[in-house]
Amino acid sequence: MNCETTKSQCCCGEETDQQKYDKIAEIIDQYKNREGSLIQVLHVAQTVYGYLPMELLKFIAKRMDIPLSEVSGVSTFYPVFSMQPRGKHTIKVCMGTACYVRGGKKLVDRLENLLGIQVGETSEDRKYNLEVVRCLGACGLAPAMMIDETIYKQVKPDKLNSILAKY
């Protein structure tokens, strides 16, 4: 059983863990006892901490006085929540019908190869998350993909290296 308490890990001007936990605690106290507020708390916690490690889930369960299995149940229900550290950038490859037909799958294969990870994972250098989405609503640009908020149209696998180089 992991019994690590929240340690301060200060690095180069970033918020320490303690500061992040304090911030999350403040939000919990605001939302506590409000029906259905767990999702909001998890959103804020993930934004502040980057992801939702077990220790943070325990912290939330304890502070909100609800079972850990409920916190973990909600966190694992919504794909938006991640229990693993997230990368700095999120790559979303469209696998909607149009993009799939025009080679979306090949983009995924190549990206998995380039980054050395599977869909849903984070690259070892914590630079990228790789995700698949069903439709970006940009079928005319197929195959399309997004990195953070930027859309790339008619992407060919061979262009991926130069696209990634921008980040």
Partner: protein, 594 residues
């Protein structure tokens, strides 16, 4: 009242009833696999669908409330066809290995297929789940889970412990602990209420049968078995008896047929527990009234699920727990000391088996504290269901065996001890003795009808005044104590929160981990409807009333044990054999790490 028609029959039911409840009330049975009377929350199985005139879609009758003028049909072509289809979809994600499933013939899913007239399984595909999680008390085989979520309701709403919840989503949904941690590593109390409501073979007690057969086959071992009172009120159900049929004498005979060498009555140790706990309670009262800091209220310690609950949830309050071991571990300790001496048998050549209505006791015996001289007090715990299975395996039919009696020296017990099988029993048994110890007078038994609290349905309380005490107990003169009884861990939590806020008005609290006490324990025959539980309860009350003596301190066997062996209550030998200590765990087991 709401008036509606179900199957062309005009019925009138209270407002707020569901269609399912309205139908049940009028003896119309609608099939379902997920309903839990009184606490139903998730309409997940959908088998209870019915036609409601004017509604386009079929309605899940367990979730829809009745309306005035509603016209409901529970048995139409459409309803029957849809139910069969739903059932087949369930089967598509269920291992159909009934022939080697423990739940075979008592499985609600299996019975449902028969009831719905399903003769084929048209859908095949992937099956989900597959986690197998084995703890000392409860085993989970999640590939068999049908996601009815009864266990979630039991764990969260009835017990308010919340170990189990739905994890993940879609096809990957499983009922499990946080992040699927093994159940032995989280704050599960092992009360087994999830097991008691599971309709299929997904949740069960961890099997001890093979170990017990091993001990029985071992020629060098003297195998001692003991039986709890709640088991006797329920085991008949496994052999076709009406619930509440007392079959103690037949059960003893059957246990001998199965191969146990000696059969003891756990109730003997219940009487002993009463003596030890009464003495401990009065000592605490004396210190407290004398101005010394003493943890009060004292809390009963017979229910191992409750103990583990306190260790996890209120680790700072362990001092309130009575240090008495639970009766069966006391008896185990005595079997391997006092009885071994009488027999001139080496304790290591004995095996003690306890037959209990409980899953938590399987964990309890694995505690390092439950040992003396390096030997476990109890070597195996079998649930009521398990001993029934062993009897069936051995070809022993409870209906056909003769009758027998418990063996000396642990054969006698009071009516008070019988009450340990139900909520309020330990309290009543203890107060009968405490009152007589203090005043020298018998306590009128009808004085102890505790009333449920408005704030929490799982808690009852009562007051008791001590007048004209004997010389040695003058400190109790004119003292009125308030005592509380809780059954179910939600009620326990209510009382514990009072203690935490230093607002507890009580001197003594009895808690049983399961709602209603041991009669509805996690190891009892399934399903246990409220009617069944009521009959088990009546059976135990009757046993108390017909006993030749009804107070623990009247047990001559116990008196003899003190005289010959233990010397005095809470004395040195009693402390060594009959008392224990507890472990701080914390909700996340954080105290267990060094």
């Amino acid at each position: 009242m709401i008036n509606l028609s179900i199957n062309n029959k005009l019925v009138s039911v209270p407002e707020g009833s569901t269609i399912l409840e309205a139908a049940k009330h009028n003896k119309i049975d609608i099939p379902n696999l997920c309903n839990l009377d009184g606490v139903h929350k998730f309409g997940s199985c959908r088998l209870c669908v019915v036609e409601v005139e004017g509604d386009k879609n079929l309605q899940a009758s367990c979730m829809v409330q009745v309306r005035d003028g509603m016209v409901v049909h529970t048995n139409t072509d459409k309803v029957r066809k849809v139910r069969k289809n739903l059932f087949e979809l369930m089967l598509s994600n269920h291992p159909q290995d009934c022939l080697k499933c423990q739940r075979s013939l008592s499985c609600e899913l299996q019975n449902m297929g028969k009831r719905l007239g399903v003769t084929e399984a048209r859908y095949t595909g992937q099956t989900s789940g597959g986690i197998v999680d084995i703890s000392p008390a409860i085993s989970r085989d999640m590939v068999k889970c049908i996601l009815c979520r009864r266990c979630i309701t039991a764990c969260n709403d009835i017990q308010k412990v919340g170990i189990l919840n739905a994890q993940n989503s879609g096809f990957k949904t499983v009922v499990g602990t946080a992040l699927d941690l093994p159940i032995n590593t989280v704050n599960c109390t092992f009360c087994g209420q999830c097991v008691a409501v599971c309709p299929v073979g997904a949740l069960k007690e961890t099997d001890a049968i093979q170990n017990v057969w091993g001990a029985i086959s071992d020629k060098c071992k003297r195998v001692v078995v003991q039986v709890d009172p709640a088991v006797r009120a329920a085991i008949g159900e496994e052999f076709g008896y009406e619930p509440g049929t007392q079959v103690t004498a037949q059960l003893i005979a059957a246990l001998r047929e199965v191969g146990f060498d000696v059969v003891f009555d756990t109730n003997f140790a219940a009487d002993l527990t009463v003596i030890e706990a009464s003495s401990e309670f009065l000592t605490r009262m004396k210190y407290s009234l004398g101005g010394m800091e003493t943890p009060l209220p004292m809390m009963s310690s017979c229910s191992p699920a409750w103990i583990k609950y306190v260790e996890h949830t209120y680790p700072e309050k362990l001092g309130h727990l009575s240090t008495c071991k639970s009766p069966h571990t006391m008896l185990g300790a005595l079997a391997k000391s006092y009885y071994a001496e009488i027999l001139k048998v080496e304790p290591k050549n004995m095996a003690v088996v306890s037959i209990m209505p409980c899953t938590a006791k399987k964990f309890e015996i694995s505690r390092p504290e439950m040992t003396n001289n390096g030997l476990a007090n109890v070597d195996a715990v079998l649930t009521t269901r398990e001993i029934a299975r062993m009897m069936q395996e051995a070809g022993v039919d409870l209906r056909k065996v003769g009758k027998s009696q418990f063996d000396q020296p642990f054969e006698l017990s009071s009516g008070a001890a019988e009450l340990f099988g139900l909520s309020g029993g330990v309290m009543e048994a203890t107060l009968r003795t405490v009152h007589e110890m203090v005043t020298g007078r018998e306590l009128a038994i009808d004085k102890l009808h505790a009333a449920p609290l408005e704030e929490c349905d799982q808690v009852k309380d009562v007051e008791l005044r001590f007048d004209d005490p004997l010389e040695a107990y003058q400190y109790m003169a004119g003292i009125t104590i308030k005592v509380a009884v809780a059954s179910g861990l939600r009620g326990a939590g209510f009382l514990m929160d009072q203690i935490t806020k230093q607002e507890s008005p009580y001197s003594f609290i009895e808690v049983m981990g399961c709602p209603g006490g041991c009669i509805s324990g996690g190891g009892q025959p399934r399903p246990a409807t409220s009617e069944t539980l009521q009959k088990r309860l009546q059976a135990i009350y009757l046993e108390d009333e017909v006993k030749p003596f009804r107070k623990a301190h009247q047990n001559e066997g116990v008196t003899k044990l003190y005289k010959e062996f233990l010397k005095e209550p809470n004395g040195r030998r009693a402390q060594d054999l009959l008392h224990t200590q507890y472990t701080k765990r914390g909700k996340f087991n954080e105290y267990l790490c060094d």
